[in-house]
Symmetry: C2
Subunit: 107 residues, 2 copies
DNA sequence: ACGACCTATAACACAAATGTTATAGTTCAG
DNA sequence: CTGAACTATAACATTTGTGTTATAGGTCGT
């Protein structure tokens, strides 16, 4: 229950960018999982959802299995039917003005 | 200041699905717009953001102009740098169990 | 008028996701 | 054990987005 986390920490030390990449990857799988969960909460089979969205069952399966990320358009289509929202919110501001100039820089 | 909205309402009457499609389209452009806004709030030029994300300026321009939707992976990459989150939340539940069975149906 | 910076657009090869059909493995009811 | 419903996987053509280079049009300071 330790080695995996250790490995990750090492990588982050070696390459700070790794943290960002990892976070991104985690957000990616999270999406597949959430889609599947949402579908089941709604009591729909993959086939049902496929019909409702005009897709085919194997496509749903591919997405939920994480074989690849849905296109944004596909994700929105699914959420439209499943009753879900995609919110894009600004959070932390750790912004470095690359040179001189303060917050609202260069211009 | 009326004809456009009227047109839309007519379409919805003709084809109920049109409402869904429209909502989806609106969510799509919203994404492009929000990306641009967020970048400007951070005081970054397209070129800056490109460097920070390892992309090229024209790619940023393409996305912000809405020429096409970013791939989810690209969106996450941008948000990682811009300091933004993508939240996927369940909302309304207007779910019809297609045949018999109540909420948690068929299985 | 000149440079320096910005944003936008076009073109094209490449990669990634979709749409589709077929099919196989599960589980469960009868 | 059979069949029905569900999920998963493979293959392949098509569409969509990326990565890249080049270039053009704004705006501003000097």
């Amino acid at each position: 229950m330790k080695t995996h986390r250790q490995y990750i920490d090492e990588q982050i030390k070696k390459n700070p960018q790794f943290a960002e990449e990892l976070a991104e990857a985690e957000r990616e799988v999270a999406i597949a999982v959430q889609l599947a969960k949402l579908r089941e909460q709604r009591g729909l089979s993959q086939t049902d959802l496929a019909k409702l969205t005009g897709m085919k069952q194997p496509q749903i399966a591919r997405l939920e299995s994480g074989a690849h990320l849905p296109a944004l358009s596909t994700l929105l289509r699914l959420l439209g039917v499943l009753g879900g929202k995609l919110e894009l919110t600004a959070t932390k501001c750790r912004l470095i003005s690359t040179r001189g100039k303060p917050v609202s820089l260069r211009r």
